[in-house]
């Protein structure tokens, strides 16, 4: 077969969908180079180049590329294969131009492929703003988060956790904590009593623990000092439920007993807690308060968050949160009462200790700025999923 087959007419006219001047300068240079040596090849190239550059899609581009440069049946390939039959000079001349042709068409095809691929990507682009196929996400309960944060803090200070039962003997909940029977301070603990098994009256009443402090008694009965313990857990009061009262809520008591522990250590610990919980520069005050199981007893107040401790709002009105006092109550604490030490068999002359009690709900409410305590046990997922 003759190499002269290669000419403009070797290719379908339909490939020329645009005028010559749509060819790139590089193409025109190739064409001119070819025209000088081999006018037929130049005509072939012009149509082939147009055919590639204007191939409408990837499939057509591939077909045209195959027509031109296919490994077996491609026109250019075949022409190159036919060179051997030509005289030496002719072979050299045509071989050079065919190689120019082949390389130039290869480049054009690659160029057109890149363009078409890029266009295709744009056309098939995903709307990445569509939502994903979302798996469920679990949220830890907000009180669990507060508790775990407190546990972290106190673990860091060397306090281990101690668990004690929620249904407790009266003596552990009250008596050993220096609430003698018929003591008026029991009035502050509206108590749920539990019917003993089989309804048989036990010598000792069963109660739902009204605070986590019975844990101290159990811990001290079991362990020898020194002790650093925290007692997180649920407590119960027989109270009517409203926005600020639940009959079930959560506390975390802490206890530190050693040979020489004083209120100075307590103050440092509580202030650290307040600084960590509220803010680094929070103002605090320690004031006396009565709990039967501590002596001396105290309460830690922090500057009211609503009014900044001034007691009045910006417009001069009395602060509704702290009722003008400038302070809000954070927790109760004190030095373990000697009667409590005696009840567990510790010698109050040998050891001293402090204890504190933190309300998880109170802490969470102060931090979240909410005033509705019932939210915590209602388990509305729209609430829980915010944390």
């Amino acid at each position: 077969m003759s190499a002269a087959v290669l000419g403009r007419d070797s290719l379908p006219e339909a490939w020329e969908t645009g005028p010559y001047w749509q060819l790139t300068p590089e193409c025109l240079m190739v064409r001119d180079e070819l025209a000088a040596a081999d006018p037929d090849a130049a005509g072939f190239f012009a149509r082939a180049a147009q055919g590639l550059l204007h191939a409408p899609d990837l499939r057509e581009l591939e077909a045209r590329e195959l027509t031109l440069l296919g490994r077996e049946r491609g026109l250019v390939t075949r022409a190159l294969g036919g060179l051997g039959a030509l005289p030496v000079d002719e072979r050299k001349r045509r071989g050079r131009s065919l190689n120019v042709l082949k390389r130039a068409l290869g480049e054009l095809a690659a160029q057109r492929r890149a363009t078409l691929e890029a266009e295709g990507e744009v056309r098939d682009a995903l709307d990445v703003t569509l939502p994903g196929l979302e798996p469920w996400v679990g949220h830890a309960h907000v009180l669990a988060q507060v508790r775990d944060e407190l546990l972290d803090l106190f673990h860091g200070l060397g306090y281990s956790q101690y668990a004690s039962p929620e249904v407790e003997w009266d003596a552990w909940n009250f008596g050993k904590l220096n609430f003698p029977p018929d003591h008026p301070a029991r009035d502050a603990h509206d108590t749920y009593f539990v019917t003993p098994q089989g309804g048989v009256a036990a010598t000792e009443p069963l109660v739902m623990r009204t605070h986590t402090s019975p844990g101290w008694v159990r811990a001290m009965e079991e362990l020898e000092p020194p002790l650093r313990l925290v007692f997180p857990g649920r407590v119960y009061r027989a109270e009517q439920v409203d926005a600020s009262h639940m009959d079930q809520f959560h506390q975390m008591d802490g206890l530190f007993v050693a040979e020489r522990v004083s209120m100075a250590d307590l103050k440092a610990t509580l202030n650290l807690f307040a600084r960590r919980l509220v803010s680094r520069d929070v103002r605090t005050r320690l004031i006396p308060i009565y709990f039967p199981f501590v002596e001396p007893g105290c309460q830690l107040d922090v500057a009211c968050a609503a009014c900044g401790g001034r007691g009045a709002l910006a417009d001069g009105a009395r602060c509704p949160v702290c009722k003008g006092s400038g302070w809000s109550e954070l927790l109760g604490a004190g030095m373990v009462h000697p009667n409590v030490f005696r009840a567990v068999g510790y010698d109050p002359e040998r050891v001293t200790g402090f204890a504190f009690g933190i309300g998880l709900e109170r802490t969470a409410m102060a931090r979240l700025g909410i005033s509705e305590i019932r939210l915590f046990l209602e388990n509305d997922v729209r609430f829980l999923e915010q944390f």
Binding site: L157, P184, Q248, P338, N379
Partner: protein, 819 residues
């Protein structure tokens, strides 16, 4: 307790304003919850006389009055009060006057008639809420007992003086703070004040049972060790004077009559409850203090008839109980308008006795509150003397008559040794003895002088709360101020926290469920009987094992949950009701049951740590693609979650078995057994159970016992190195009889395959037209592997043949196809 500053300053001289007093009290342990400001200014409001009252021409309910304001011609005033009448002396707000609420009075026209001022009601003068009519000034000033100022004079002097009232939270151990005198003592010490002359006189007033003897018998001298009685004759029972009514109003006490008001006045002032009997109603003219007898009844002052028990201490006359000692008087012997002679009771009742009686009767009063906490036993004679003094001032015609005293003043004033070193050890305050002594003396403790390292301190009668050295430490510390306590450096050197196994297990149980996309709930412990029954049955717990409250507040909260399921179902119902489509919640918490125990020893219920999880709704939290969006969570999707949880909890080869119990959907529940014990249940809840919570959609439930994890010893299985030689894979499908389970076939295959088995996975279950009758197809993807070389085809074929033969032998199954 309310502390009016005016009343306080009658007792103690201090130069401090109310906020400073409040701050001092708070810092001493008497938390001041608020300060109420009373009294007002009345510029332009004058005393006026109503001259004429005529019907308003254009309004039926209004009157047109001519009022003498003391200045020039009578004023014309429109008034809407029904009680306005000619000759009435009233408060007139003249044009330009300013009322306490800020209203400024202007000349106005009301329905066409000019009004040149306003006649004021008690509410408009901020005296009370009374708004039914205008204030009658003559009645207001003691029915004319006090002279009225001239017409036209400002009303200011007639009005209560401006005052401030501190609202104080008195600690349970400080009954002395339930009297003005006790609070005054604290303020005096805190602010370096001094008793006023009047206070000194009242505190040293003496009283003795002189003259004729009134018979008093203490039959229960434990319940009542000390009783004073004073008869007073020729008394009249009428309203109290204004000042007394005002005082009582300040502390929130309603005025009743002059005699009762005086007893209440002294209750608030001295903290000593008093009671006045109508002497004529005491049969036999005597009192006996004794326990009530079974079956005795008494109608108390509040008009209620009360059945008495042996727990209740009563005051009786010769025939019957006439009062509940320390709690409330009887209706039959109270002073009335016809009373002419009274018997004043001033006693010291034993705190626990009063408390038991009050509890038994379900009655708590201002008196019982004070007796329960302990009244100052030494104040009695002073209280009687002050009552007599005040009564004679009000009614000069009254005459002191017979008196009686029984028992002895139960004053125990212990002497306690206080070591200076103890103060420092407990509080960190390094005080010298002189400072400590000064603080105690300011609080009227008697301190022997001279000692350096120890102080001998005698406790005054009104401080029954101080019994131990540490109590004195607190006295010194709070007097010195907690602010002065230093902040010690935190000693954490060498402190190390141990995390208990329990803590770690509970934490990982929570973490592993959170990782499954289930949100943590904290639900109620207290549930209804019906709920408790339903969820106990799920786990096979009998109703007898339920733990119940003896004094529930409501039917919804009377049983302790046997597991956390009721609260979770409440939460599901709540969320569905709020329009939430999918709910996945879990809780780690205790279930409460009475465990089986043969011994009858008293014991606590079992608190079993559990994890319970519920799930309902779509498989995905969100899916916009309809191919996924329609899928709902079913048994197997849920089982996948629970399996993953078990795997994360390192449960080795959990065995799922079908399980049936009331409340589960039949055929759709399982128990999970690991090692030898059951550790969990899972399945679909039955619609009848769900309907009890108003839930109409299917709910998946999983309950795991956490106890086995607490006791299990951590065994670390030998590490298997990943094999380096490629596995050979085979897919085998068997036809087996319908009743044969996957687990049975799988076990046979595993046993037959032997050690070259790398993995086996069920990938298809089929029964339908392609399967022989009564048979189903189970298809397994199986991989074989040798750890040291590549398995050969004949080796694999041998193993496979063994497996096929085993299924044929044990389950009458046969190979369906081989791919």
């Amino acid at each position: 307790m309310k502390l009016p500053v005016s009343w306080l300053s009658e007792w103690v001289d201090v130069s401090a304003d109310a906020p400073a007093i409040a701050d001092a009290l708070t810092r001493r342990g008497f938390y001041v919850e608020g300060i109420e400001t009373l009294g007002a200014e009345y510029p332009g409001v004058v005393v006026a006389r109503v001259l004429e009252v005529a019907r308003h021409p254009n309004a039926d309910r209004l009157s047109l009055c001519q009022v003498d304001s003391g200045a020039g011609a009578p004023l014309s005033v429109v008034c809407g009060a029904p009680n306005v009448r000619p000759g009435m002396i009233a408060a007139l707000a003249t044009v330009g006057a300013k009322l306490p609420d800020g209203t400024v009075i202007r000349r106005s026209r009301i329905r066409g008639e000019e009004s040149q001022g306003m006649l004021c009601s008690a509410r408009e003068l901020a005296l009370s809420d009374a708004h039914e009519g205008i204030l009658d000034l003559e009645a207001f000033v003691d029915g004319g007992a006090r002279p009225l100022p001239a017409i036209g004079a400002p009303i200011q002097p007639l009005m209560p003086a401006p005052d401030q009232v501190l609202e104080i939270e008195v600690p349970f151990n400080r009954p002395d703070g339930l009297g003005i005198v006790g609070l005054a003592r604290e303020v005096k010490a805190a602010l370096n004040g001094a008793w006023t002359a009047a206070a000194r006189a009242r505190l040293s007033a003496g009283w003795s049972a002189g003259g004729a003897r009134f018979p008093v018998t203490l039959e229960d001298d434990e319940g009542c060790p000390y009783y004073l009685a004073q008869a007073i004759e020729r008394v009249t029972i009428g309203p109290s004077p204004r000042w007394l009514q005002d005082r009582l109003a300040l502390v929130g006490q309603r005025s009743i009559n002059a005699i009762v008001d005086l007893t209440n006045y002294l209750l608030h002032e001295l903290g000593q409850p008093l009671h006045a009997f109508d002497l004529a109603r005491l049969e036999g003219g005597e009192v006996r203090v004794r326990r009530a007898r079974e079956g005795e009844r008494l109608v108390t002052l509040d008009g209620r008839e009360r059945a008495l028990t042996r727990e209740v201490l009563v005051i009786a006359d010769r025939a019957r109980p006439v009062a509940l000692a320390g709690i409330m008087g009887g209706a039959d012997s109270e002073v009335t308008e016809s009373t002419t002679a009274l018997l004043l009771e001033c006693a010291w009742f034993e705190p626990r006795r009063v408390r038991r009686g009050a509890k038994a009767l379900g009655l708590s009063t201002e008196a019982s509150k004070r007796f329960e906490r302990g009244v100052d036993p030494a104040i009695g004679p002073r209280a009687v003397a002050r009552f007599v003094e005040l009564l004679l001032a009000l009614q000069p015609g009254a005459r002191v008559a017979a008196a009686g005293a029984a028992g002895a003043m139960p004053v125990a004033s212990p002497t306690i040794t206080l070591r200076r070193a103890r103060i420092e050890r407990l509080t960190g305050l390094a005080l010298d003895s002189a400072t400590a002594a000064a603080h105690l003396r300011a609080l009227e403790f008697d301190v022997a002088s001279g000692a350096v390292e120890t102080l001998d301190v005698r406790v005054p009668s009104f401080r029954r709360d101080v019994a131990l050295e540490d109590d004195l430490v607190e006295e010194v510390a709070r007097a010195h101020g907690y602010d002065a306590i230093p902040e010690a450096p935190l000693e954490t050197l060498g402190a190390h926290a141990t995390r208990t196994r329990r803590e770690l297990v509970l934490a990982s149980a929570r973490r592993a469920m959170l990782a499954r996309g289930v949100t943590e709930a904290w639900t109620t412990t207290l549930v209804s009987e019906r709920e408790a029954h339903a969820v106990a049955a799920l786990l096979g717990d009998a109703p007898e094992s339920l733990v119940r409250l003896a004094n529930p507040m409501s039917r919804e909260s009377e049983v302790l949950r046997p597991n956390p399921v009721p609260g979770l179902l409440r939460a599901v119902a709540h969320n569905l009701k709020q329009g939430v489509r999918g709910v996945r919640l879990f809780e780690v918490g205790a279930g409460f049951t009475w465990g089986a125990d043969e011994s009858n020893a008293p014991r606590l219920p079992q608190e079993t740590p559990m994890l319970a999880a519920v799930a309902t709704g779509p498989l995905w939290a969100h899916a916009h693609d309809p191919a996924h969006g329609a899928e709902e969570l079913d048994f197997f999707a849920a089982k996948g979650l629970w399996q993953a949880w078990l795997e994360e909890m390192r449960v080795d080869t959990p065995e799922w078995r079908s399980y049936a119990a009331p409340g589960w959907k039949p055929g759709a529940s399982a128990e999970v057994v690991a090692a030898t014990s059951r550790i969990a249940w899972a399945g679909v809840l039955a619609p009848p159970l769900l309907r009890a919570w108003d839930i109409e959609v299917p709910v998946q439930l999983f309950v795991a016992l956490l106890e086995p994890f607490l006791t299990a010893t951590e065994t670390r299985p030998a590490v298997r190195l990943p094999a380096r030689f490629p596995p050979v894979r085979r897919d085998l499908a068997f036809f087996v009889p319908q009743a044969v389970t996957h687990r049975q076939v799988e076990r046979t295959l595993v046993a037959a395959a032997g050690e070259r088995l790398a993995s086996i996975e069920l990938f298809d279950v089929y029964h339908g037209p392609q399967s022989p009758p009564g048979m189903k197809s189970l298809a397994y993807g199986i991989a074989f592997q040798h750890s040291e070389r590549t398995l050969t085809e004949p080796e694999v074929q041998t193993i496979q043949d063994r497996m096929v033969a085993a299924v044929a032998r044990e389950w009458s199954g046969h190979l369906r196809e081989q791919r």
